[in-house]
């Protein structure tokens, strides 16, 4: 099948059984790949009410038709599962070089199912596929494991591994790859840990059939040329995502002290320009990337190195924790990566715990003696380790995420647990940015920015405006942006360089032989969006409107400092946003797709 590896690899870890089946042409037509394949298999194969950390849950890793191809940033695959953090749908996109090797091994999807009785790693070299003993790797950091397996098998092998966080089933444990790329959010690493899979090692040398070789070359090179010619390429490449840090501070979007404000008085200490001067050694890109956003950093004070930090980690482990020191943030990033926990959720959890401590809800008896004040760098390092190893009362509590932790602690701490659907909000403060607030409220994995991002749009239209156009913008982005996670390529070339997205269509057609416009692709995106929504509803009996509410902080507590001081989104506007969103989506007032909507999208039989 043109554009595909051709096979689905199924690994039954309970029985140690490995089988292959051909990729279905019908599923490829309907769901294309990546997160489309992910939700298809998740909805179809994982039984209702499955324990996310039990053997019934599955971990589904899927490439897309652009993965491993002549496409800018074509190094993306998608990891889908039922989230142990949220109890709903989760998928996380992984960059680096894993995806291309997976495609060249002839694999469109790897499905990990069941649970191994002992630690194993999955070894794939084309058709040689084995489950191997990982008892000597268990307990080691994800980076250390990658180094060890690279030495064992060679540089051409790509490795995705969990750290102790995944082994200990921290609910927001992540997958690490390429010394600094993650499938980060929603607890994908905890699911892999529950199956006792420490790592996947793979290398492939097969070719991928394409429909039109000449057209493929031309369309691929046209995209690369557009990237090369794009204004801003040098600036984005030099600073990566950290380019926005100072701007977020300036416009009140930089999460500060557990999102109690959106501007940070020590902000310059963590700005991108400070990072570039103080710690960055060189740039790093993923497979086929013309605009490398990754940065290798050297932290002289700690004598350590890391890939990063990205903006998100700077926001969540820097300003959100009251830390204005880029070396400290980078070291916290390194610890989180090696120990295998999502730095965004970890920053959210630690920020919440610090606020609990400063408000007197926690004492040192609750924190294993840690002085959990904002800005205490050593306490942050200690807490990251405690979380990853679920050590002590505080480590165990924070390993659950802020929603569950706040439910246990009570005393009003639920109001400043900054999460939606159980996932900690990523690094954009939304006290007065209604489109971005709606983006977080309705994101299909929880409070994450990857589906739609609208800070600039809020500033253009008017940050407190609650109008149908804002809602329509969010829906359009939600249907469009995740299609990059379906196709298997990075969205940052569109996001950062603003290249013409229509250039992707001839490339996709030349690879697959199927003509698709962006309208066609957005229709697939809309279908997937509704299916992920139905998954949430299927797995959670009380699922509905209440699940879409943001943290009360954003409609009850205006910041006292910074450019958004005194500003807030009214609760009635939060509800109005949801009313408009559900109406435009074709969902009922409780946020469930109507039968008519499901029929229009040809999903009725699948969700019945």
């Amino acid at each position: 099948m043109n554009g595909y590896g051709g096979s689905i690899l199924r690994v039954n870890l309970t029985e140690g059984k490995i089988t292959k089946e051909p990729t279905s042409a019908q599923v490829a037509r309907d769901f294309i790949g990546g997160r489309g394949f992910g939700i298809y298999f998740l909805f179809k194969e994982v039984p209702r009410q499955a324990d996310p950390l039990g053997p019934d849950n599955k971990l589904i890793i899927s490439t897309g038709p652009l993965s491993g191809m002549l496409a800018p940033g074509g190094g993306k695959c998608d990891w889908t599962t039922k989230s142990p953090l949220t109890g709903g749908y989760a998928d996380a996109s992984l960059g680096g070089h894993f995806t291309a090797e997976m495609k060249y091994a002839g694999l469109d999807t790897i499905i990990l199912e069941g649970a191994s009785p002992k630690p194993v790693y999955l070894f794939i070299e084309n058709d040689k596929i084995q489950l191997l003993d990982a008892s000597t790797l268990w307990g080691k950091g994800a980076i250390d494991v990658e180094v060890e397996l690279k030495h064992k098998y060679g540089e051409e092998f790509q490795i995705a591994a969990i750290g102790p966080g995944g082994e200990n089933q921290v609910l927001y444990a992540c997958i690490n790859h390429d010394f600094g790329r993650q499938a980060g959010r929603g607890g994908i690493g905890a699911v892999m840990g529950s199956k006792r899979v420490k790592a996947i090692v793979l290398h492939g040398t097969k070719s991928v059939p394409v429909a039109d070789t000449d057209g493929y070359r031309k369309a691929g090179m046209a995209l690369y040329k557009a990237c090369k010619d794009a204004e801003g390429l040098a600036e984005w490449s030099r600073y990566g995502t950290t380019v926005v840090t100072s701007w977020c501070d300036e416009v009140g979007a930089l999460p500060t002290r557990n999102f109690s404000a959106g501007s940070f008085e020590q902000g310059p200490g963590i700005y991108g320009q400070t990072m570039r001067k103080e710690i960055v050694v060189t740039d790093k890109g993923c497979f086929g990337c013309p605009s490398p956003c990754g940065k290798y950093s050297n932290m002289k004070r700690y004598n350590t190195q890391v890939e990063g930090p990205e903006y998100e980690t700077i926001g969540m482990m820097g300003s959100n924790l009251g830390i204005g020191d880029i070396q400290a943030v980078a070291e916290a990033n390194r610890l989180a990566d090696d120990l295998g926990i999502d730095s965004i959720s970890a920053g959210g959890c630690i920020g919440w715990a610090m606020e609990c401590y400063e408000k007197g809800i926690f004492t040192k008896a609750d924190t294993d003696g840690l002085e959990l004040k904002f800005g205490n760098i050593e306490a942050v390092f200690a807490l990251i380790k405690k979380i990853a190893y679920r050590e002590g009362k505080i480590g165990n509590l924070l390993a659950l995420g802020t929603k569950r932790a706040a439910q246990q602690v009570g005393q009003g701490s639920e109001k400043f647990a900054i999460q939606v659907k159980g996932m900690e909000q990523s690094a954009y403060a939304t006290h007065n940015a209604t489109a971005m607030l709606l983006a977080y409220m309705t994101c299909d994995v929880g409070a994450h920015h990857n589906r739609s991002w609208a800070i600039t749009y809020d500033l253009q239209v008017g940050r407190d405006k609650v109008v149908p156009e804002k809602v329509a913008r969010i829906i359009w982005l939600q249907n469009f942006r995740p299609m990059f996670d379906v196709l298997g390529s990075c969205r940052l070339q569109w996001v950062e360089l603003g290249i013409d997205r229509d250039l992707y269509c001839p490339l996709l057609e030349s690879i697959t032989g199927i003509n698709r416009s962006w309208a066609d692709l957005e229709a697939v995106g809309n279908r997937i969006w509704n299916l992920t929504r139905m998954y949430w509803a299927r797995e959670n009996e009380d699922f509905g409107r209440e699940w879409d509410l943001p943290s009360p902080r954003f409609y009850t507590e205006p910041p006292k400092t910074g450019v958004t001081a005194g500003q807030i989104t009214k609760y009635e506007d939060v509800q109005k946003l949801l009313d408009m969103y559900y109406q435009q989506r074709g969902w009922d007032p409780n946020g469930i797709p109507t039968q008519g909507t499901l029929e229009t999208l040809n999903l009725s039989s699948m969700v019945a």
Partner: protein, 74 residues
Amino acid sequence: MTATIRPLGILKTYIGELKETSVDAGRSIRETIIQIGINPDLVAGVFVNDEQQTKDYILQDGDIVKLLAVIGGG
């Protein structure tokens, strides 16, 4: 004593296709871009002679300032 302001990429469409402009040095980038009709909130990246700066940077003679917007976020 002049500097050059050069909007990049999509930012140009936000500000009415404003092209490269020569401005007086000696004032902050924020003051300068407001005066030439650019909403500073829409400018996410300011690069002076290829190094990122904040909008509080005081323009020097001969500076080349590139301005970047963010359309899609992370």
